[in-house]
Amino acid sequence: MNLNYTDQQNAFREEVRSWLAEHVPAEPLKTFDTEEGFQQHREWEATLNKGRWGMVTWPEELGGRACDLIEWLIFEEEYYRARAPLRVNQNGIFLLGPTLMEYGTEEQKARILPKMANGEEVWAQGWSEPNAGSDMAAIRSTARKDGDKYIINGQKTWSTRAVWADWLFGMFRTDPDSERHRGLTFILVPLNTPGITVRPIPQLDGLPGFAEIFFDNVEVDVANRLGDEGAGWSVAMATAGFERGLMLRSPARFQETARRLVELYKANQASADRDPAVRDAVMRAWMDAESYCLTTYETACRLTQGGKIGAESSTNKIFWSELDQAMHATAMSILGARAELLPHAPDAGDVGTWLDGWLFAQSGPIYAGTNEIQRNIIAERMLGMPR
């Protein structure tokens, strides 16, 4: 065990830090749940890609730096420290990207990954359907094979980024007689294909973070299938594993929130201390963010040495999503009467973006498999309790 960074790791950190200092926009971008903000974030992806900082864990030939997990953690730390923009293409980068590298053909990788990397093609995800939710096995949208085409019909919902995205990846039922998780196929769909209708769904902040997507005899080349026909479930499970796993929520994000929470508390200490629960919650926030960082490093080190991620990774999402909710609830409590004000309200004072964060934090325990489902998984697969 050695908890010091190597010289090489320190040098890497310096390189990231100075590039970001030079390139991170001085003005925060608009949210990518608006059209203008979406465009700004797309441009930022191109900037990142030009500096080869878009996908640091990707192989060099794909524009990445072949970073290992520790370097990735360092990159993330610097990225959050620098308050660099959120990644509009996270569906592509963190979910589809790794899946493509495992299941895609060479042709698919060559065609898709570079445009994903430079922000030219932003990806939406098409998992959920009405009345399916977290239950992917209940998917009913169909893809009927007709020569070298699939004819897609049905509906997807809760598709993040889909309002302005270019492509969608999702699962469709190719065997009409199949049930549950059999007979599903993983297909990539250009969102400008005739027959597709995208309807925005306003989320808690009123902006269209999600969309419903309707498919009416949409024709897609068979070449856009990822993995074998009928093997969609196992491809998707790998993707969902990436989603729940290490790659989606780097500790840096929560450590920065904890740091800002400490600052908010100190700036409002006299009024905050009237409620003794606040100080305790701030301390817990820091400790839990620190625990999350330490545990993630431990896992990353184990993985880089060839270890496997086990069932205990299901604890990950519960831990960070509850931490995120608790931190933002504490901030709301500190802000008191001001907590309800939108950031741009003229008398909002020091409320910052805590309200946005609070709204967003509500989704943490829900998406990518509700925390209730995660708890079932922990009990059954990690602890071995009876089904």
Binding site: S271, V278, A337, A345
Partner: protein, 346 residues
């Protein structure tokens, strides 16, 4: 010792509930959100016609002459429908405070309020901003040392957007030369009254909001299927709702007791703070657990949940935030010589 509401009080509550549930639907609230004024004059007139705007106005001034205890059940119903109109602040804060001021102010304004001619708004410097200031014919603005009754020409209002689109909040600037309606010790006492009464109104609304979120969630989870089962049949979903029900059940009597103390002119500060803390906590738990059992659906404007959730969040901070009320409780229970324990509640 009789800790029950009268049959009359309960019947009146039922008729107001029926009216509100039928008239103040989520659809109508969405319409109000999209209107320029953010208020619905027709609705205000309907409330006046039922006698509600003047419910606490003395009969001599054209009201029903009822008290805080009569109204507290109705305030819960206002919460249950997330009523955007400032009825609770009117009946629980503005009217009693103007009545206490008495004289010319009472004679002039109370009849107009009772008749629904004037919408009255309440602001309190502890809140920072005043709800409905630009939509009202009269603004009652309370500061620790000055209480103002302001007509629209006497102040300017700057709109501040709340997470709850039902809440129209304004920073106000009082025009030069406008004199307070009360100052000094009288104003200090009225400022406390505004805070306590506003807090009681927020607490009562929080109870109604919590109940509504339970009802919405129970209905949603009783219909929605997942993994081949109605999700409301999952034990984790049931327990989320049961936990809210427990906290809500034990927040009701404290709110009633606070209303009773205010209505009887008894020392009410600790009772009010206790009530607001537990009621807002129940409502916040209701919000948290309701969005969780709604799944992704709860995160959208598609379902009605957020109408109630956002108001519940706002109730926690208005008319004294958690810190304010906890401090008052602490000052009471940690004081030397205070009588605590069995037999000290009444």
């Amino acid at each position: 010792m009789d800790f029950t509401f009268s049959e009359d009080q309960l019947l009146f509550r039922d008729s107001v509930r029926d009216f509100l549930v039928n008239e103040v639907t989520p659809e109508r609230i969405r319409g109000i959100w999209e209107s320029d004024s953010g208020r619905d004059d027709g609705l205000w007139q309907q409330l006046a016609e039922m006698g509600l705007t003047g419910i606490t106005v003395p009969e001599a001034h054209g009201g029903l002459g009822m008290d805080e205890l009569d109204f507290v059940l109705l305030a819960q119903e206002c919460g249950y429908v997330a009523l955007p109109e400032p009825l609770v602040n009117t009946a629980l804060v503005a009217v009693p405070v103007i009545s206490q001021l008495g004289g010319q102010a009472a004679a002039e304004w109370l009849p107009k309020i009772a008749a629904g001619e004037t919408r009255v708004a309440v602001g309190c410097s502890d809140n920072g901003l005043a709800e409905d200031a630009a939509q009202a014919g009269l603004l009652l603005w309370a500061e620790p040392q000055a209480l103002y009754l302001l007509t629209p020409d006497q102040f300017s209002a700057r709109f501040n957007e709340s997470v709850d689109p039902s809440r129209r909040l304004y920073a106000i600037d009082i025009a030069a030369g406008v004199l307070p309606a009360a100052s000094g010790e009288q104003a200090a006492a009225l400022y406390q009254a505004v805070l306590d009464r506003g807090a009681l109104g927020a607490a009562a609304q929080a109870l109604g909001l919590a109940q509504r979120m339970i009802d919405i969630s129970v209905q949603y989870t009783s219909e929605r299927q997942q993994f081949g089962k109605v999700i409301g049949s999952f034990q984790a979903v049931k327990h989320h709702m049961a936990n809210v029900a427990v906290r809500l059940e034990y927040a009701k009597a404290p709110v009633t007791r606070a209303a009773y103390a205010l209505a009887r002119g008894e020392a009410a500060q600790v009772a009010v703070s206790h009530a607001k803390l537990v009621a807002c906590e129940a409502a916040n738990l209701a919000a948290k657990n309701s969005i969780q059992v709604h799944g992704a659906m709860g995160y959208t404007w598609e379902v009605d949940l957020h109408i109630f959730m956002k108001k519940a969040w706002a109730m926690a901070g208005t008319f004294g935030d958690t810190g304010f009320h906890k401090q008052r409780v602490a000052e009471h229970i940690f004081a030397d010589g205070v009588a605590l324990g069995a037999g000290t509640t009444f």
